[in-house]
Structures are given as structure tokens and as C-alpha cells.
């Protein structure tokens, strides 16, 4: 019997962790879908800034990919620029989220109360933001290391895992925004 596992154990662990996160959001999503059809359900319009943020986050995945290419080609400059861009886009995304939440608050849409669509919206986006902060810490760590030229050969696993986590946050966000938007429209 051959072992066919193609992952480094740590990377497999990260995939499994992502599975738990997926199940967490699946739990919330199913709760959302169940309550959507209650008579008290109201819709609201999602401020466009959240879609702008989506573009930022998608872009950050590309910058990470580009930077990681630099690492593979042993080009420290490309790695540095790529990581810095990723980190900055991540921060901008968070700032954008805060602006979006403020716009909602201005419209009188609060977490508390009987307006469940908005309560869920805050929970979904808030939990994603918490995960993104964790992603930013990781990204910040690698950016710092890259700027000090401390990313050597042994960093391949850490960088791969950082990238996997970052892309997963990206995918999660795209899922969330599409899910939330469709539920407001349909």
C-alpha cells in the first residue's frame, strides 16, 4: 500500500482548517436561508462600496500570486512589491468594509433588532473581517521578512500556506457577497 498524500502535513492541516471554516459559514448560510422565508424578513440594498472592496480583495490575490512568482524566480524585488501590495490591498479592504458598515449605520440599519437580513449581514461580514485580520497578520509577517531579505528557501511552505489562506479568504468573500446580494435581489 502506497501512501498517496501529496501535501505537506502542515498544508493538509490548513486545508482541514479551511474545511471547518467552510462548515461554520455553511451553518450560518443555512440559518440565513431558513429565516429568509419568514414573514418578518425585509431586504435592504447593499452599499456599492462592498462591491468595490470585492475588487480590491480579488486584486490582492493576484498581487500575491505575482509576488509568489517572484519568490519562485528568486527575484526579491518582485516578492517585496507583491507582498506589500497584497498587504496594502488587504488593509484597504478592511477600511472599505468599515466605510460600508458606517453607511449602513447612517441608513439606520443596526445589528440589533428584528431586521434579520441586516443582522446576518453584519455577522457574515464581521466574521470574515476577523478572519481577514488573521490573514493580515500572516501577510504582514511575510512582508516584513521579505523587506529584510529573510525569505530563504525554507520559506516555501510558509509562503504557500499564507497564500492558500489568503486565497481562501478571497473565495469566502466572493461567496458571501454573491450569496448576500442574490438574497437581496431574488
Amino acid at each position: 500500500m502506497e501512501s498517496r498524500v501529496r501535501f505537506h502535513p502542515k498544508e493538509l492541516m490548513l486545508w482541514l482548517y479551511l474545511a471547518t471554516t467552510a462548515m461554520l459559514f455553511a451553518g450560518f448560510s443555512s440559518a440565513y436561508l431558513v429565516q429568509r422565508f419568514s414573514e418578518y424578513w425585509k431586504t435592504f440594498s447593499i452599499p456599492p462600496v462592498f462591491w468595490f472592496n470585492t475588487i480590491l480583495l480579488l486584486l490582492s490575490s493576484f498581487t500575491f500570486y505575482w509576488g509568489h512568482q517572484g519568490y519562485r524566480r528568486s527575484n526579491p524585488w518582485q516578492l517585496q512589491v507583491g507582498l506589500m501590495a497584497t498587504f496594502s490591498l488587504g488593509v484597504l479592504f478592511l477600511v472599505g468594509q468599515v466605510i460600508g458598515w458606517k453607511m449602513l449605520v447612517k441608513q439606520g440599519l443596526f445589528l440589533a433588532g428584528n431586521h434579520k437580513a441586516i443582522s446576518y449581514f453584519y455577522i457574515f461580514t464581521g466574521l470574515h473581517a476577523v478572519h481577514l485580520v488573521a490573514g493580515l497578520i500572516v501577510m504582514g509577517y511575510w512582508t516584513y521578512k521579505a523587506l529584510r531579505y529573510q525569505v530563504g528557501e525554507e520559506a516555501w511552505l510558509g509562503l504557500r500556506m499564507a497564500g492558500l489562506f489568503w486565497h481562501a479568504l478571497d473565495v469566502l468573500w466572493v461567496y458571501l457577497i454573491v450569496f448576500l446580494q442574490l438574497n437581496q435581489l431574488l
Binding site: E39, A112, N114
Partner: protein, 650 residues
């Protein structure tokens, strides 16, 4: 190809790498922040048992109340203060006791304690790995578990008392601080404790799965793994998929409780006052909770049955009957456990069609369960049964699984569940089938692997007394509950003297309480035996039970890395007991046919398995499975991994 090099280098460097384990270990790094899986296993075992004993002591208090609702026990006031004014238990505190008893035993003892202790001990040792895939995460896993315990127990010391809405904490009772004292700060602490607990369990689970997939030693193909490993592996996957939705449920509950949302709340009046929350649904909570809640039953039970497999096979000196069927049954039970959760909710007014679908899926569970029981009985059949303490507890596990499991039919079928719902029938059922059954496996596992953990034997005579008192006691406590349940006695009532149809069971309640107190007292024998044997027990030989699995090939004294030299190579499955043509009735997994031909005498007291294990050519003859990598922190061999490309493992 690359991996051959890695594993070869890994083994080679361990010779040097692991002889520098003499580095000074302080109290903190050895006992508190240990990253050694054996120490973490001990931490889980002791924390789990401690929580468990607190949990059963709580039951002693509420059993007293149920038996003698009109009597005053002044000592209760001494212990509980304002919760037992004039020696009579406060009704709110009664609810808190029931809630905390359930929470502690289901989650802390039987989920965290059981899996945490035995997965940590057995997965690396039985699979021939130096440690878990990530020892650091493993340490964190215990610390989250531990701090969850602290937060949960801290709720006994808050002004309004601990959570009191039942271990399932259904809203709206749990979601409204004004509903009852226990729904105040105690409820927040309960949720925080549970979230810490789940994080700990999931960290452990990630490790268990990765270790089983990636770190098996050479020759340890999946179908050569001991069944307990299969069970622990499957359970880790179950936890991974079912705990997060429950966390979602708890987070929404916390928001309803403290931040003014209304996910679960609608149309509620308290003291004539209408609450503003509208449009929420309690049913939503039930669905999310039981989506965890039912797999949780198997998260408890499968490791217990896995342990029973090892105990029964080893001590009956027979290979486990129907190994493959056992593996498929474990996987089958795990799969079906995800599609049965609504059988906890038959009385919620669900569509009868849906009810019958869940009835059908529930009855499906009986098929793999019955196959497992059949296999246990046939393993015992004509075996050379050694009725020592671990074996007794192993048989006890199966016995309670049968007697508790059969009543599951009544509760799994909607028409009979509806009258029995929330009666003592349910209490009797789940205590026997998952409570006592799993606790017995945990005791059995402790007696069996105690020599592996502490290098000493537990006292057999005390073990017998502990077993028989607990076995008879548990039956006397929980069997009468079936009758009470048929009589319609509801659970969670503070006193049965209020109604004619419940007060006629009063004598039986006194009987149950006396049986329960004796059974609880018997557990002190175990505590004494446990701690006394830890320091003064008879020194254990390396393989006291003459077992075949790899954990007994490692030295008795604990080495970080488990084996001083090379890792053992596996040549056979885990159950070569009483194999025809062999000189003795067991052949360990690391003994090859050449070793037997060579005349290796593995059964002798002074036989050192290292003489066989270290002789093995690491990259020779067998082109079987290869460990993908050694645990990272200690292995300089990882420098071979330092390429931009990951090691491709064939």
C-alpha cells in the same frame, strides 16, 4: 524517491537527534507547556476525569433532591450557601446542576477527555510516529480545552449562578437574561467555554487526521491499523464537520442574548410584558444544535467502541472478528449520523413525511451497530478470555451499548418517541448507551494503557471491586428510569411530589438515589487506585498484556520521539492473536516472517523490541508506504525539504 531519502535521513538523524533529549526540561515545559503527545494525553485524561468527577458529584446533589424533596440537608447549605437555604436546594440551582452535569459529562469527559486522552496517546504510538503532525498545535489544543474548563467551572461562582437551561441550552430560556437567573452571566460563560472547547477539539482533530494520513510508519497500511485508530480518525472528521455549525448556533445565541438580535426569539411575553423581538425561530437553533448533537453521540461512542475492540481482542487472545466489517461499520455509522438529527425534534410539529424520513435514517444506524455487536460477541466466542479489569470494562462497554441501544428503537421511531419524549425513558436511554458505555471504555482504556502511560500496573483487586460496583450500580440507577419513563415521568422536574402520577414513583426514586450514591462512592476506589498506582503500583513489564500493537514496542520510560532508535516497520495487521503455527498466542506487528524464521523470541520477559526494530533496513526490501515527513520541530532532516517545490510523495 525524494521521500525515501527523507525517511532514511530522518531515521538516521534520529539516532543523534534524539539522544540529545537530555536537554533540561523545567516544570513548565515538562508538565504545563509540553509538546509531547504522551504528556498531553495525560493532561487530557486527568483534566477530563477531574471534570467528570465534578460532574457526577453534581448528580449526587440533585439525586438527593429527587429522592427526598421534603427533607432538609444542612450540609448542603454549608457547601452551596445561598443556593440551598436551610439545607433545601434552590429550584433554580437544581436546573443549573442538571445543566452543568450534562455539559461536563457529554462534552468535557466523553468528548474532550476520552478522545483527547486516547487519540493523543494511541495515534502516534500505534502508528509508529514520533509525535503528532504538529506538536505545537497539540499543546494549544489542550490549553484551549483547559481554559474552557476553567471558564465553565468559574460560572459556579457568579452571582446569578451557572447556565441552567439544560445542556442543550434551548432558547428562548437561554437567550433571555430575565428568563431565569441561570440565563445571566452564567449563560455567557457557558457559551464562551463551549467555544474554547470546540476550538481545542478542532485543533486536536486537525492533528489526528493529518497524523493518521501522513505519518504512519512503513508498512502501516490503513487496513493494518488498529480499529481504535479508525474510530478516532473517523471521529475527528465528524467533529470537523459538525462542531462548526454548532459554533454558529452558539454565536447567534450569544448575539440574541447580549446584543439585541432576534434570530431565535419571537412573540415572547415575560410577566405580561411583550418583548420587542419578532420573527426569530427557536427551531432554527434546534436544527443547528442537533446537526452537531447527533454526530456528537458517535463522537463519544465510536472511540469507546474502538477501545473496546482493542480490549476484547487482546484479552480474548483472538483476532477481532470481521475486521473489515468493523471498519466499514465505523464509516457507515459516521455517515448516517449526519442525516438523523431531526429524530431529536419529532415533537416540534415537523411534517410527518419528514418525520418518517428521519425515522428511516435513524433505523439505518441499527445495521452497522448490530454488525459491530455481533463481531464483539464472535470475537469473544471460543476465545481464551482473560477476565482482568480492562476486559471486564471492555465487555461492560458492549453490554451497555446493547441494553441502552435497544431502547433507541423506541425513541428513533416517531410514533413511540412522541409519548416518550422528554421523559425519564430518554434519560435512561442516553445514559446507558452513550454515557455509561463510553465511561466504561474510558475506564477500561485507562486500566489497559496505564502501564503505557505511567510504567506501572493498576491494582487488579481494586479494579474488580470498582468494576462490579459500577456495573451493577449503573444498571440499578438507569434501568428503573425506563419504567418511570413509560409511566410518563418528565425529566428536569425539581420535585416529583407535586403530582399524583409522579409521586407514586417516589420509592423508586429513593432506590435510584441510593444506588447512585453507592456507584458514585465506588468511583473513589478508582481515584485512589489511579493515583496510588501512579506512584506505588507494581512496575510494568514492557508488554504486560502480550499485545500485538506498536505502542508496546516503545520503551517504558518516556522518550520524546517514542523510539530511541529507528521507527518500527510493520509486517502484519494489528490482530495476530492465536495464529496457528506460531510458538505463542501473539505476534507483534513489527515481527516479520524472517524474524520468526530467525528464531526471535519476542514473548520473553527480557526481549527488547529495539533489537528487531533497529535491525530493519530503512530503505531496503519493502517498497511499501513511506512516511511523508518526520515531525518538523526536532528533525534536522527537514533541510532536505528546503526546495521551492513541496516533497512529492508517491
Amino acid at each position: 524517491m525524494a521521500t525515501q531519502a527523507i525517511s532514511a535521513a530522518g531515521v538516521a538523524t534520529h539516532h543523534e537527534g534524539h539522544h540529545d533529549h537530555h536537554h533540561k526540561e523545567s516544570f513548565w515545559t515538562k508538565y504545563i507547556f509540553s509538546q509531547d503527545h504522551k504528556m498531553i494525553s495525560k493532561q487530557f485524561l486527568i483534566t477530563g476525569f477531574t471534570a467528570g468527577f465534578i460532574g457526577i458529584l453534581l448528580s449526587a446533589i440533585f439525586r438527593l433532591q429527587l429522592a427526598f424533596p421534603d427533607k432538609s440537608f444542612p450540609f448542603l447549605e454549608t457547601i452551596l450557601g445561598k443556593w440551598a437555604p436551610e439545607g433545601r436546594l434552590d429550584p433554580n440551582f437544581y436546573m443549573a446542576l442538571v445543566t452543568m452535569h450534562g455539559t461536563i459529562l457529554v462534552f468535557w469527559l466523553l468528548t474532550g477527555g476520552l478522545s483527547g486522552a486516547f487519540a493523543n496517546l494511541l495515534i502516534p504510538l500505534q502508528l509508529g510516529a514520533r509525535d503528532m503532525a504538529s506538536p505545537f498545535l497539540n499543546m494549544l489544543s489542550f490549553h484551549f480545552f483547559f481554559w474552557g474548563t476553567v471558564v465553565l467551572l468559574a460560572s459556579f461562582f457568579v452571582e446569578t449562578g451557572p447556565a441552567a437551561a439544560g445542556w442543550t441550552v434551548y432558547p428562548p430560556l437561554s437567550a433571555l437574561p430575565q428568563a431565569m437567573p441561570g440565563s445571566g452571566l452564567g449563560m455567557i460563560l457557558w457559551i464562551v467555554a463551549l467555544i474554547l472547547f470546540v476550538v481545542g477539539v478542532l485543533m486536536g482533530g486537525l492533528n489526528y487526521i493529518t497524523t493518521v494520513l501522513n505519518m504512519r510508519t512503513k508498512g502501516m497500511s490503513p487496513m493494518r491499523m488498529p480499529l481504535v485508530i479508525w474510530a478516532l480518525f473517523t471521529v475527528a472528521i465528524l467533529g470537523l464537520l459538525s462542531f462548526p455549525p454548532a459554533v454558529a448556533a452558539f454565536i447567534l445565541l450569544l448575539f440574541d442574548h447580549s446584543l439585541g438580535t432576534s434570530f431565535y426569539l419571537s412573540d415572547i411575553y415575560i410577566a405580561g410584558q411583550a418583548l420587542p423581538q419578532q420573527g426569530g425561530s427557536t427551531l432554527l437553533y434546534l436544527h443547528l444544535f442537533w446537526f452537531l448533537g447527533h454526530p456528537e453521540v458517535y463522537i463519544v461512542l465510536l472511540p469507546a467502541l474502538g477501545i473496546a475492540s482493542e480490549l476484547i481482542s487482546t484479552h480474548a487472545r483472538k483476532p477481532i472478528f470481521g475486521y473489515k466489517i468493523m471498519v466499514y461499520s465505523i464509516l457507515g455509522i459516521a455517515f448516517v449520523s449526519f442525516i438523523v438529527w431531526a429524530h431529536h425534534m419529532f415533537v416540534t410539529g415537523m411534517n410527518p413525511l419528514l418525520g418518517s424520513i428521519f425515522t428511516a435514517t435513524t433505523l439505518l444506524v441499527a445495521i452497522p451497530s448490530a454488525m459491530k455487536i455481533f463481531n464483539y460477541i464472535f470475537t469473544l466466542w471460543k476465545g481464551r478470555i482473560h477476565l482482568n479489569t480492562p476486559m471486564l470494562f471492555g465487555i461492560g462497554t458492549v453490554s451497555f451499548f446493547i441494553s441502552g441501544g435497544l431502547t433507541g428503537f423506541f425513541l428513533g421511531v416517531a410514533p413511540t418517541d412522541i409519548p416518550l419524549h422528554n421523559t425519564y425513558f430518554v434519560v435512561g436511554h442516553f445514559h446507558l448507551v452513550m454515557g455509561v458505555s463510553a465511561v466504561f471504555a474510558m475506564f477500561g482504556g485507562t486500566y489497559h494503557w496505564f502501564p503505557r502511560l505511567w510504567g506501572r500496573m493498576m491494582n487488579e483487586r481494586l479494579g474488580y471491586i470498582h468494576f462490579w460496583l459500577t456495573f451493577i450500580g449503573a444498571n440499578l440507577v438507569f434501568f428503573p428510569m425506563y419504567y418511570m419513563g413509560f409511566g410518563g415521568v418528565p425529566r428536569r422536574y425539581y420535585a416529583f411530589t407535586e403530582f399524583a402520577f409522579t409521586s407514586k414513583w417516589q420509592d423508586l426514586n429513593v432506590f435510584i438515589t441510593i444506588a447512585a450514591l453507592i456507584t458514585i462512592a465506588a468511583q473513589f476506589i478508582f481515584i485512589y487506585n489511579f493515583f496510588h498506582s501512579m506512584f506505588y503500583g507494581k512496575k510494568a513489564p514492557r508488554n504486560p498484556w502480550k499485545a500485538t500493537t506498536l505502542e508496546w514496542s516503545a520503551p517504558v520510560e518516556h522518550i520524546h520521539g517514542n523510539w530511541a532508535g529507528k521507527l518500527p516497520v510493520v509486517h502484519r495487521w494489528a490482530y495476530d492473536y492465536s495464529k496457528p503455527g506460531m510458538p505463542v498466542d501473539f505476534v507483534p506487528q513489527y515481527i516479520s516472517d524472517e524474524d520468526i524464521a530467525r528464531g526471535v523470541r519476542w514473548w520473553e520477559e527480557d526481549f527488547d523490541p529495539a533489537t528487531v526494530i533497529d535491525r530493519e533496513e530503512p530503505s531496503g526490501g519493502e517498497k511499501e508506504s513511506v512516511v511523508s515527513s518526520e515531525p518538523a520541530p526536532t528533525t534536522p532532516a527537514l533541510s532536505l525539504n528546503q526546495k521551492p517545490e513541496p516533497p512529492s510523495v508517491r
